[in-house]
Symmetry: C3
Subunit: 140 residues, 3 copies
């Protein structure tokens, strides 16, 4: 689906907040319904998910300690009538090893977040045939 | 090289298609010659490449199973007269371990793809002195 | 903080230069004070950092060999009166294993770099209460 660029934000999320909650609440307060989200920083005790096709559910992976946030990447669209952030992360430890998944939780030590709002028709997550809550897919 | 922003697309690639082919064919159908590409999702049996300076060729790394697509990042430019996507990926497994490389192949389970078209002079890949097919480099 | 989009650059950094120095010097030459930076490519002997909350310093991780640059992600803002790039990287080896951290050093084999300038109030790094040199944080 095609969009027009809207507002652009670059900011530091406050230390101690949950990163996912911060992005969702920022979107709600600023009336952002569709956006691209990116960022870097450092997260404490992040919890990420791996979606299993077999069990049709997220396996939770709890990481202990402070990790470099190497990539925060995802989007905001509408789910159940309000802005909903879908974010994936990669995280580095003190040895440079990298872990990652779907962001479930993670306290901000440092987070420099970029949000590019997109303007256009509402992009909405709906229950799809594979059980997941996704946008309608693009034609091929 | 400097560009002007063009069209902006955010969409879900259909389940089952090859992600690289989807991006290339989307670019061709929409007349996109230059772009930035980003995305997240989940890929089945991705194949990634590692370019070896010694052998001057890509080593193929075949990953088995379904992986969280933590980052899809790259660009579209012109190669052999048509749009060509150069994409790198990071991929997470059920333990949160991360693998990655140059995207060669990978079937979409879920792929939320953002494409920012860039308008300007053609950006073309040509055989360079190091044997790779690259854009002319920026002056220092 | 809200910004307006400025100039947009997509280019190849020359082989052999240090990637971080290239971005900083490109920003300075082009008068870019605030920007989003992204890229992919391949780096030789990258050195990345992990910031330890305990020691309040960066641990250096020296990686030997040539690595696929899977993600270069970060920003440019003002520090000590001039443009300063804060960049994180993920890097893949010949087995597809991924390493990463805060980019300290790394010689370009290939680097395709995208810079999106942002226009607005100066975004400045200052010594914060946690000892790090960061932007003032967004209100919650």
């Amino acid at each position: 689906m095609e969009f027009k660029p809207g507002k652009v934000f670059l900011m530091r999320a406050p230390e101690g907040v949950d990163l996912l909650e911060f992005v969702n609440s920022f979107a709600e307060k600023n009336g952002i319904n569709t956006a691209i989200v990116k960022g870097i920083g450092s997260l404490r005790n992040p919890v990420v998910g791996y979606y299993s096709e077999e069990t049709k559910s997220y396996k939770k992976i709890e990481l202990v300690g402070t990790f470099e946030l190497l990539t925060l990447l995802g989007n905001i669209s509408i789910k159940d009538g309000k802005p909903f952030a879908h974010l994936h992360v990669t995280l580095g430890n003190a040895n440079g090893d990298v872990f990652g998944g779907h962001l479930i939780k993670g306290a901000v030590f440092v987070a420099e977040v970029f949000i590019q709002e997109l303007l256009g028709e509402p992009l909405e997550r709906k229950k799809q045939e594979n059980g997941l809550v996704l946008w309608d897919s693009e034609g091929i």
